[in-house]
Amino acid sequence: MSQRPVLARGCVGGAALAGIVAFCAVMLTVIVTIGIWPGELKLTAPLLCSDTQPDAFVVADTYSIRPGETTTNFTMYCMGPRGDTTDVGFLRPAALLTAVHAVPVVLFLGALAARAARRTTRRTPGAPSAVTRG
């Protein structure tokens, strides 16, 4: 039997798994960073702010686009002791946080996979099924 289909299946499976992890990490970032705790962006300050501007701020700008509708943008700034600032934006710190959020996602999916594997092992072929569900 050729190795190629197995390899291709492995690649497709790996890409699908990476996609699922990336999607879940992005969703987690959207929920946590935009919905609950925008200040989480400040955790990236050691990587994105220089030593001369060590204080990070996440600034919320709220606009009313049309009556009854508001939009809030979050922007991270680094500030120095004299009030000098650098606009870091939202995308770079959010991308870093997404990478960090991927860790719990991988752990969660790993735990689910381990649980499923344990169940499969318990139901080995030929062995009588321990649990029958209707």
Partner: protein, 194 residues
């Protein structure tokens, strides 16, 4: 019965998540007004790095070094992290171009319309002769002399009037406006309240 209880639990979880989102939304974020107030509380954001960065970028764009640069004015808005430099074109000395610095980069130069009576030779100066390196010391001195505890610098304008190059700092507080003037070497000439 068990299904109904599980459904109720799911509804409860969703409701709790909704309450959490509404109650905790924007944790750790600062409003624009508070952010601006923080910049002002720290003096307005004046650093020696900004004029140095801007002038180096302009000189680079013109293909000259700082000593070869001739400008008509340098205006800095430290709070917005922007600057505008009116530069005499080294290739065509009768022309002046305006460079604007914002978002940490230089925009394309725009031509400046001059009046027939403008004496360009009497208005330009070399930015290398201005003590931009001491701008932080000058700021502290100006704010001390201004005497307002919540004072900050709004703009810095460097221009030449007659024979003298002057650094004019606009100062502001909740209750007063003022202007501090320094020589090109950074010596304080005056601090006036408007």
């Amino acid at each position: 019965m068990r299904v109904a209880r599980a459904g109720r639990r799911q509804v409860g979880v969703v409701a709790a998540a909704g309450v959490l989102l509404v109650a905790t939304g924007c944790v750790g974020a600062t409003s624009r007004a508070d952010f601006t107030a923080e910049i002002r509380a720290r003096g307005g954001g004046v650093t020696a790095a900004l004029p140095a960065e801007v002038l180096d970028a302009v000189a680079d764009d013109l293909g000259v070094d700082l000593a070869g640069l001739t400008v008509r004015s340098v205006t800095i808005n430290p709070e917005a992290n922007t600057a505008r430099v009116e530069v005499r074109d080294p290739a065509v000395p009768a022309n002046v171009d305006s460079y604007v610095w914002h978002n940490d980069s230089l925009d394309e130069p725009e031509p400046v319309r001059l009046s027939a009576g403008d004496d360009l030779d009497a208005a330009v100066f070399s930015p290398a002769s201005v003590a931009f390196d001491d701008i932080e010391v000058m700021t502290d001195r100006a704010l001390d002399e201004f005497g307002e505890p919540d004072g900050y610098v709004t703009t810095i304008n460097v221009h030449r009037l007659q024979e003298q190059v002057t650094i004019a700092m606009s100062l502001q507080s909740a209750r007063a406006d003022g202007t501090a003037r320094f020589t090109a070497a950074g010596e304080l000439m005056s601090v006036e309240r408007r």
